[in-house]
């Protein structure tokens, strides 16, 4: 299965990554190779098998519904690239 340039660009869009010509030259073939590689999975005798999402097929544990005190806003927002009035600032979000 070959990955077209269009498909590659769509993936990049979906992943919020810019695509350069270099990426087309280097990353696209690598991904294409990996996809071809992944096609070999089809050979495996997997009929009737449940997918293994967790190695121990664990069961979810639930937390008591209690609110806990939080670290200060300063500590939590310390790494913010841009902050004002307690908000994280980003370029205008258009609805």
């Amino acid at each position: 299965m070959s990955l077209s340039k269009d498909q590659f660009d769509k993936l990049a869009r979906l992943s919020r990554l810019s695509v350069t010509a270099e990426d087309h030259d280097r990353i696209l073939p690598a991904i294409d190779a990996m996809v071809t590689w992944a096609d070999t999975l089809r050979q495996a005798p997997t009929q009737g098998l449940e997918p293994m999402a967790n190695p121990h097929d664990m069961v979810l544990r639930l937390r008591e519904d209690l609110a806990q005190p939080l670290p200060s806003r300063e500590a939590l927002m310390r790494n913010a690239p841009q902050m004002a009035e307690g908000f994280f600032i980003v370029p205008r979000v258009v609805e």
């Binding site: 990955l3 498909q7 590659f8 993936l11 990049a12 979906l14 992943s15 919020r16 990554l17 810019s18 990426d23 280097r26 990353i27 073939p29 690598a30 991904i31 190779a33 990996m34 996809v35 590689w37 992944a38 070999t40 999975l41 089809r42 050979q43 495996a44 005798p45 997997t46 098998l49 449940e50 997918p51 293994m52 999402a53 967790n54 190695p55 121990h56 664990m58 979810l60 544990r61 937390r63 670290p71 500590a75 939590l76 927002m77 310390r78 790494n79 913010a80 690239p81 841009q82 994280f88 980003v90 370029p91 205008r92 979000v93 258009v94």
Partner: protein
Amino acid sequence: MEFRFSPLSELRRALDSGMVSVEELAQDYLAALKNEPFGASLAVAPELTLKQARYCQNLLEKTPPDQRSPLLGLPVIHKDVFVTTGWPTTAGSKILENYQSPFNAQAVDQLESAGMVCLGKANCDEFAMGSTNEHSAYKPARNPWDTRRIPGGSSGGSAVAVAAGLAPAATGTDTGGSIRQPAAMCGITGIKPTYGRVSRWGLVAYASSLDQAGPMARTAQDCAWMLSAMAGFDPKDSTSLNEPSEDFARLLGKPMTDAASTEQPLRGLRLGMPSQYFSNQISPAVAKALEAALQVLRGLGAETLEVDLPRTELSLPAYYVIAPAEASSNLSRFDGVRYGHRSEKATDLESLYCLSRTEAFGPEVRRRILLGSYVLSHGYYDAYYLQAQKVRRLVAMDFDRAFEHCDFIVGPVSPVTAWRLGDSPALEAAKDNPLLAEYLSDVFTLGASLSGLPAMSMPCGFESTAGGHRLPVGLQLIGPRFEEAKMLALADHFQLATNFHEQTPDFSGAQS
């Protein structure tokens, strides 16, 4: 400094006997880390380390020796995917340059509670993606046995630190072999525990269903001590195993079976050798070292037999579908909004995302994100991601079946020893797939990762190169789930009978 290559057990005696203080020990390692040429560390903060050291010294003086935690006062370096409050956490990436976490990883806290002193953060492949530590956005790490070569990855910095005597112990993470493989290539000991043993809280996530934290040190005993402190149920991690806490060192030095004796401590133990792990895929040097190691184990009384892991080959594409898929989602939070790199060229929201991420994610990471998005996308999910999860179950079933015939599986960690920086591993399989060469070298470590089984690497020999270097070879042990204590005891017996783990690199050798 006389202690630099001592295992933790020796340092414990030195501290307890007053031969050296916690602060002196920390200072010695800090001095070794300063200006080290191997690219092992990404961050140090001597003041903070010494503060911790003084605190532990205090505690040591107040606590009677028999009540002390075995790790009290011992230094450790943390792989830079563990978040720490005192040191920045980068995960080897530019996207987290200077990131200050408001909390510590659970494993870091537990080791700190056990009295370990943090020396700093160790270099690694970016977001733990890679097998060479060349993918670190900051600098490659270099193998102390031959600095033109890779140390392995992704926990390359951690392995180098221990191998070069810059730290007596380190933490690493293993998603597809990232503790075992660098441990093997650097000639140290490392263990990836059963999935869920060690909390993933505070571990910068790569592939959630595969990531496991573990110790990397000079001996199996050291690893046992550290694992005992690192492991344990953590309610903050929904994939954390709800098992009672264990002393993983409890079986060290004890008879392994009823048939065991002092000369034959491994008598009655069956070691499975997967035919797929002993194929022509491994280099002659690795095969030779392995054979010699197996002879030692047989000499100690173990029985070896052939077992079958038919899906060994398939575990490669299965892993390289599942891990990138989970990673592509885990890395979406790096968007320049709340922390991390934000592009200065961004003009609107869309360009903020695209530019920030593209500028600050390295090519390997971008490659895996794109592949991950592909295998999860509409129309491909069933054929790739879901299918890979089913193959994963097949792989796990293979191991379950194998363990009906043996107690532990033995084999190589890596098909070859450390290759040169910038090169690809010389693998038969890579001839048809040069782009995938680095991935193909993971063939022996992925199975245990996919199955969530405990697995470890310990030094078992060397390859001598034409250039006069000795390159370590690692022996892998894989056990049934929850059998870490027994596995470490087995490794300990091997280390009592050999001295590979006591070897140190020759630093007078070539450095490039």
